[in-house]
């Protein structure tokens, strides 16, 4: 058997190694356009920021090392330019000599990845405007920063990579501005959670230009780059990083006549076969049904690429035996001192897909409050109003965010429900968690909502409607330090004796700092004849960051 693999990074290299372990005697050819294989592309921003100082550590395997270890014919600087699927032959171009030769295969694996999007704006080719895909890109960016002694950077695009780049350039000593087309950072987050991130990024000294489109790049007289925005503003930068997004690299697959799907990726079946049975595909270039929505999507994540590569190699050697079940899109990013993580589907996308869902927000300590060092995290869940099935989760916090998203991700992969979060058994000792883990608390609140015991209102609904009684059930000290406009203060422990102060008729919204006392207040009122009483989900804590951000956006609009 002869296996050819196109693309030698995450998916390709993993597939090659697995193929070799499964079949010691096969001929395996790994063809990579670039200079390097199996490099740590997720580490590139940190290398640019000098958090990773040893470049050689990015190169998990060298072509030479891979050849020796796995007896794989590694060809770098080589590009597959055409596939003849019927003849089982690829055409390969040696990028150093320009020679083109043919190479037959029994089975072919495509792992071409995704390309950073580079919009056709005026001035886009000016020196100092970069995208980041591979080690050579990061070498070029690092060299350029030094060469021009860069002090000002503009990062276009406020997604995961954009934020990592912003943080790392800031870490390297540059003044950084993020320009983002949307009205928030990090599209997979919903607004209240994104608000927390935005405030943190600003506090760290990074400028944010939300709802801003770049229209042009230009040379400036002082040698810097002028970044022109749609609203007429101009930013000056020594370096520009484009992190607007990526697109599956499907040129080769398309030319070979393989099916391309609605999401723009190579269509694969559950065995990771393309529309031609002897061609498999893995990684960023494929699309597959999202297990939550059932809709086809591309997943630009290293974890799923590695899992696909392993399954793909097994299916090639064993005959299609292993099924890929899709990705729930679990992702995480460090943003300065914050950790931001998501799994499942963003709530706005659930709405767009017409999927009924309830959202609730809880805040909890990363570990027992009585043990030093506990830090807050905010968890937003979306779940089905009928079954309680988990549809999405977003967590923003510090220590322990990764743990909680991973647990929710694992359960979501198994069609888990909020009831599973309630019953979830975690490892508890004071340095690690509390007797009730943040995941348990998030689940319990959701369960109470589904049972009709807990009626909630969202911070986004608190902006307009003023025909309600708002009761702040926190302490007088907390109330004095700031509250929601119009709120009256009745501390929870006085609520039973002061209940007559609250009109029974009309809508009542109660709230506390995070939601726990508010829930108790709502339970008390509901059982004392109040029929229209709601607890503010996420409490004053969420309201405050959301409101602050809203005021800012409105102020921008007004100007």
């Amino acid at each position: 058997m002869k296996y050819i693999i196109v693309g030698g990074v995450a998916g390709g290299a993993t597939a090659a190694a697995r193929l070799r372990r499964m079949d010691e005697h096969a001929e395996i050819v790994l063809i990579e356009r670039g200079e390097h294989i199996s490099y740590a592309n997720c580490g590139l921003p940190y290398y640019i920021g000098d958090v990773i100082t040893d470049r050689s550590r990015l190169l998990v395997q060298t072509p030479e090392g891979f050849r020796g270890r796995f007896n794989v014919d590694v060809r770098v600087h080589a590009e597959v330019v055409a596939i003849d699927a019927e003849e089982h032959v690829v055409e390969v171009r040696d990028m150093r000599t320009g020679d083109i030769y043919k190479e037959p295969y029994s089975k072919l694996i495509l792992s071409p990845g995704a390309e950073p999007f580079r919009p056709a704006l005026p001035g886009i080719d000016i020196a100092g405007i970069f995208t980041l895909r591979n080690v050579n890109d990061s070498d070029r960016i690092k060299a350029y920063l030094k060469q021009v002694n860069a002090t000002r950077a503009v990062v276009v695009g406020g997604g995961f990579i954009g934020l990592e780049m912003a943080e790392n350039l800031h870490h390297a000593g540059l003044n950084v501005t993020i320009v983002e087309l949307g009205d928030q950072l990090m599209a997979p987050l919903d607004k209240p959670m994104a608000a927390i991130v935005q405030q943190h990024v600003r506090e760290k000294g990074v400028s944010l230009r939300l709802q801003s489109a770049v229209t042009e790049f230009a040379h400036s007289e002082d040698g810097s780059i002028s970044v022109l925005l749609q609203d007429g503003d101009m930013l000056s930068a020594d370096v520009v990083i484009l992190s607007i997004g990526v697109r599956p690299d499907t040129r080769l697959a398309k030319a070979a006549g393989l099916s391309i799907g609605k999401a723009g990726g190579i269509v694969i079946n559950e065995y990771l076969q393309t529309s031609h049975p002897d061609i498999y595909a893995v990684g960023d270039a494929v699309e597959f049904a999202n297990p939550v929505t059932g809709r086809s999507m591309c997943t630009y994540l290293a974890g799923p690429a590695n899992k696909q590569a392993r399954i793909c190699a097994d299916n090639i050697v064993l005959g299609n035996k292993h099924v890929y079940n899709g990705s729930v899109n679990t992702a995480i990013v460090r943003v300065f001192d914050l950790t931001v993580a998501t799994t499942g589907v963003a709530f706005k996308h659930l709405s767009a897909a017409g999927m009924p869902h309830i959202v609730s927000t809880t805040h909890s300590g990363s570990h027992a409050g009585y043990y030093p060092g506990a830090q807050d995290m905010s968890i937003q869940l979306a779940f089905s109003p009928d079954s309680g099935r988990l549809l999405g989760a977003q967590i923003v916090g510090h220590e322990g965010v990764d743990k909680r998203i991973d647990v929710i991700s694992a359960l979501m992969q198994h069609s888990g429900t909020v009831y599973d979060l309630v019953a979830y058994e975690h490892a508890y000792a004071p340095p690690y968690s509390s007797a009730k883990d943040p995941v348990n608390i998030a689940g319990a609140v959701a369960e109470n909502i589904l049972a009709g015991r807990h009626w909630i209102v969202h911070v986004s609904d608190m902006m307009d409607d003023e025909r309600m009684t708002i009761v702040d059930v926190r302490t007088p000290e907390e109330y004095a330090a700031g509250s929601i406009p119009g709120a009256v203060n009745i501390p929870i422990d006085d609520l039973r004796t002061s209940i007559a102060q609250i009109p029974v008729q009309g809508r009542v919204v109660v709230f506390c700092h995070v939601g726990q006392r508010g829930y108790l207040a709502q339970r008390i009122l509901l059982q004392h004849g109040y029929e229209n009483v709601f607890n503010l989900s996420g409490g004053y804590k969420l309201w405050q960051s959301y409101h602050k951000e809203n005021v800012r956006i409105n102020a921008v609009k007004t100007i």
Copy 2:
């Protein structure tokens, strides 16, 4: 309705608060023998060690605060001395006045907890010998340490609490010796993992006396306590902490005629009802079927107690609607710089229960190796040879151990398999994990074993059998720094060319540092006609710590 709850710590206080939220109008009486309710008993060792310096933080709720918040009639220093189940009446003794009075109830919840075991040894009542159960105990220990200016401590019992006490006393400046009856620390661990912990504890300067029984305590002339051991040795200590284990406090339940089970706990059904339908029980005092073994057991953990309390309150108010599914016994402890965590069933207990299982060990970095600060962790899995169902996991490491045990715990609760570990989708960015999470790797190795692709041998089997070829496939540098006696060095990258050096006949054991190169070596040899070739599970890393510990134990035996 009138609900009485016996015991005001984890289970009792949670049940009372939940009952109130479910039923604002019920009469709720919480009866607690001690002075405090709802205190952080898991924090007590850290308070003694001055890691937690603010005592008031241990008191999560005061009786007064609880009354005000939840309108619960909290009675501390009050003991329920008898239950008349038929009459629905308890007898309560006011511990300050000695008065006994009767209190009727509609439903009763027992949450009496467990008592530390205090063996009837000569001298057990000498001043300075303590058990630790509540805040008052920790106050007494702290005061005593100061009073006698303690510099030497003996901790009897090397379980979770014993280790936390040892660490905290060490942190407080004492010389600490742990005396443990068994031949290892931490009974829920198996020996190779316990070996890692033992070496760490010794490195930190704590003395270990394994396989040592205390036979007597005596006053010493200098005012200290003499701790006499069965082997004739005597240890001098200023303070002794007994952490030998706990027993469910079932006196009241027994006297009331409630069923007590084989594990010594109060028998409950899936609704947490005792043998009398109007009496429920939760927490350390109950026994319930372990979901993995099906055997009844007591679980002395705060997490399950809290979950039970919530379910119990719901069942009382709503009529038995919610089912408790048992605990997979997920537990964690910090041991100096190590984190040690377990879930499911220890492998020796699987053997004892006659449950077929395969064990495998992997080592992985806590996050991507190219990103600074990654730390090793060791994962041992036990799984069913037929279905691959997860039966137990043990993890020893540093950062991120809690995350991995929690994910495995969550999956184990849902009868997860090693295949679920392979497919498990985690959140990956360089500070948090690798593209292949340690959990994925543990699962993949297990899957390969089940598929018959990966044949392993355990470190415990490497001690006696010398009729085999042992091949160290690490680099010459690694080999030179130390290897298994008798091993020949053929680096993995030379294996294909040097294969003739290895006799085809007879048993071959290959190994590397952690097992990955060893696995590849084994795959190569198996596909080159070697029929009897095994990879050392856990590699040289595990062999080394296990062997070191074994040499020590054998040395002790020889003396």
